[in-house]
Amino acid sequence: MELTLWTYEGPPHIGAMRIASSMKGVHYVLHAPQGDTYADLLFTMIERRGQRPPVTYTTFQARDLGGDTAELVKGHIREAVDRFKPEALLVGESCTAELIQDQPGSLAKGMGYEIPIISLELPAYSKKENWGAAETFYQLVRGLLKDSPKSESEHNPSKWKTEGRRPRVNLLGPSLLGFRCRDDVLEVQKILAHHGIDINVVAPLGAAPADIIRINEADANICLYPEIAESTCIWLERNFGHPYTKTIPIGVGATNDFLNEIHQLLGMELPKQEEEDGSQSRLTWYSKSVDSNYLTGKRVFIFGDGTHVLAASRIAHKELGFEVVGLGTYSREMARKVRDAAKELGLEALITNDYLAVEEAIKESAPELVLGTQMERHSAKRLGIPCAVISTPMHVQDVPARYSPQMGWEGANVIFDDWVHPLMMGLEEHLIGMFRHDFEFTDGHQSHLGHLGGHSTEKETKAPSFYQEKVQSSRPEHFPHWTPEGESELAKIPFFVRGKVRKNTEKYANQIGCKEIDGETLLDAKAHFNA
């Protein structure tokens, strides 16, 4: 049993719903009790969709359990097929139905329908949403392509040359309730079109079963969201010989690498101008602009899904000149990659589902900016640290009306703005530094962006709360203690660097074995770290 107050991912059948709802002509019969219908609101309210997800729930009740639930399932399947006339039917169960073992998938297959029926077995007590989405997409593609001739030895990604046509690729992985997927697809499509590469199929987002059947007419696959499409890409490679891209084009460097990779896969030459790094995105120049000097070494903490944290750590470190002080993910499937990335930065990755553990880690590493999910936004707010959201789980705020991709050149521009705006701008930070003795720039200074500005983290820690107590009690006995004089010296330091100074001073005091921190210790520490 795991105690959760909040969870980053829903159960696996929510992942299946994401695939079904992303597509056209697919219907999902879900054996589930009535309360599970709440899931519709994820699509109709959070994603603001004007259609209900194409899901028929059997909504069985306790009194049905004594009788023939199998008949009930069949009745719902029959009605759903008659009413919605899908081109393909997904059949599965939620956690409760899994326990009563009706096997709705085989029931459906026995009903004699002509349409393809994909039976989903998504273990609800051990797996989660992204896994469920990946498995559903994989089962669906496999189910629809099972009669296609296998041709792995013959597939040649450069065949377009001899056939006298433009190369074409599939974009795999974008789905509803994915972070900015809608705009990512447009952006990647735009970039590929610019390079003379056509899109064969985008799936699951917007695809119909008939499109899935055309998947192997492409020269190569682009795995846009490995959480959802990697297992499918691997299967397509194994069965049809389709190569797929491994780079996710988020950030200037990654977009370049991605273009290189796809050109190579297709046997194309990358035009020279692309190689001049980042001429296409403003991020590169904005980051070099003198105003951005203040970004140097800003301490950032990164947490979210695997794909977005990997991209974020590269951008933070290589393109914005930040110092990454924490890196983690809730995507266990991507734990290895995230661990490797963390190691390269000299960090240990945080792989967890527990948002309180993430909050503790944020506090411990005292960052100046958090890049996280909506939950980290709340944690950061409590700690008085600015935050930008980079990953699912979805919140209505993450479905903006404006065009705001994360991928490609425009994505890099969006990221620059989204990450930098929660911070003070360079010019401002300089001015406040220069005028810090002015009465206007005392502790009360608050950001119009809502971060706690003057509220220092230490004030927050005084609020009684169980997880904070837990943090304190886990601190070692010899943890240095601030004298009132030390505290008042610390208070003179501008708030935006105070957290860092506190942290460094404590680290220094620990190193030299000093138990009490006064004003002198603070100055010693400053000298020590400057030296």
């Binding site: 049993m1 009535q34 028929t56 306790a62 909506q374």
Partner: protein
């Protein structure tokens, strides 16, 4: 019984399960904690329905069952004890802990009553541990509150004092207001259930007269009756008339002089009618369709018809307790179509055919209906908003006229061109 035509429907439903009522119960009793023993789905449901992220310290959580808990039931009990102990050490301020049953815990038959008993003896009075079911195979939406209150009843002290007990969660301000009105009528002993602190349970006995404030408390009403209380039959306190009849039911039972009742309520009623006026103009003649969800559908429809002049196309309700609803049904016009249960697809077909001006529905259905051109109102808003009592009647009407107003604002061109 009235001339309403009562129909039953079965098929796919689109209703929240009883777990959802945790969302308002935890606000009512800040010293209580609600621990769902369930699956990741249950956790995701409360998170999605409650917008958990807005609470820094939610007073509810889920003990998520995992593969190994399913394997051996004895272990599940040990695991539950461990989780509860952890929780209570981390949150020493908790006075009452509700173990809330879910579909999975019921299907695999985890005996939460036994678990509560065991944990109660371990915690020895420091914390009270109770259990009830909020599962979707047993309960819909608001029925969870019924379960939670019913679990409290055996703990209520007995008393022979003559008193009025208001039963059902109300907004604090509304409750204070209603109690003031009863005091003006000379009814001094008024208590409410659930209390604002889980440890301050009201007493109960043969001289207790109960006024239900919410229509979904069937089981609670029954066990209160078993403790000797008298449930006063009345419509529910929504709208001017409903509230007046509801207050009068208590006044009658406490032998309050009718002239005092009239002189106390009349000014309130006049003021409320005046406040209602602009909304009546907006609502009158408009066609209303209520999909089943909160159990408030019948009293709401009665108010919107009787006092606001709306035309009732259909009233859906998840289940119908004919006894408890009789005073409401009597006030409805003949042939009002009341549908108990649901077949969501057929119901939506009827919505499309009947072309209502306003649809009251669950959160999952609202935007798709808006996209088809219907104005909608979320049912769940009614269980969060202070809508009870004479003084709130105009606020209640405003909730329904706002979507129509908005519709006019945004569709003026369309309206004038037709």
């Amino acid at each position: 019984m009235s001339g309403a035509s009562l129909l039953k429907e079965t098929g796919p439903r689109e209703v929240f399960c009883g777990l959802t009522s945790i969302v308002w119960l935890h606000r009512r009793m800040p010293d209580a904690f609600f621990l769902v023993v369930g699956s990741r789905t249950c956790a995701h449901l409360i998170q999605s329905a409650a917008g958990v992220m807005i609470f820094a310290e939610p007073r509810f959580g889920t003990a998520i069952l995992e593969e190994r808990d399913l394997a051996g039931l004895a272990d599940a009990h040990e695991e539950l004890d461990r989780v509860v102990k952890n929780l209570l050490t981390r949150r020493p301020e908790i006075r009452t802990l509700f173990l809330v049953g879910s579909c999975p815990s019921e299907v695999i038959k985890i005996d939460l009553a036994r678990a509560a008993e065991r944990l109660n003896s371990q915690f020895n009075g420091k914390v009270t541990i109770l259990n009830y079911s909020g599962s979707g195979i047993e309960t819909t939406f608001t029925q969870g509150e019924d379960g939670a209150l019913k679990a409290f009843v055996p703990l209520m002290p007995s008393s022979d004092k003559k008193q009025l007990l208001l039963v059902g969660t109300l907004a604090n301000a509304v409750e204070d207001r209603l109690i003031t009105i009863f005091k003006r009528l000379g009814i001094e002993n008024v208590d409410s259930f659930p209390p604002r602190q889980s440890t301050e349970l009201p007493s109960i006995g043969p001289e207790t007269k109960v006024l239900l404030t919410q229509p979904y408390l069937t089981d609670t009403a029954r066990v209160l009756k078993d403790r000797g209380a008298e449930i006063l039959p009345a419509p529910f306190p929504l709208g001017v008339e409903g509230s007046r009849l509801w207050i009068e039911a208590a006044a009658k039972s406490f032998n309050v002089d009718q002239s005092l009742v009239t002189s106390t309520l009349e000014p309130l009623i006049l003021r409320a009618r005046k406040a209602l006026k602009p909304y009546i103009e907006k609502l009158t003649g408009k066609k209303l369709f209520l999909l089943p969800e909160s159990q408030l559908e019948i009293p709401l429809a009665r108010f919107l018809h009787m006092e606001c002049g709306m035309e009732l196309l259909e009233i859906g309700t998840p289940y119908l307790n004919r006894d408890m609803m009789k005073p409401e049904l009597d006030l409805l016009p003949d042939k009002t179509r009341i549908v108990e249960g649901q077949h969501v697809e057929k119901q939506l077909d009827r919505v499309r055919k009947n072309q209502p001006d306003l649809v009251v529905c669950g959160m999952g259905l609202a935007n798709p209906l808006e996209a088809e051109g219907f104005s909608t109102k979320w049912s769940i808003e009614m269980v969060f908003s202070p809508i009870h009592g004479i003084d709130q009647a105009s606020d209640l009407a405003e909730l329904f006229s706002r979507p129509l107003h908005r519709h006019d604002l945004l569709n003026t061109k369309q309206l004038t061109s037709t």
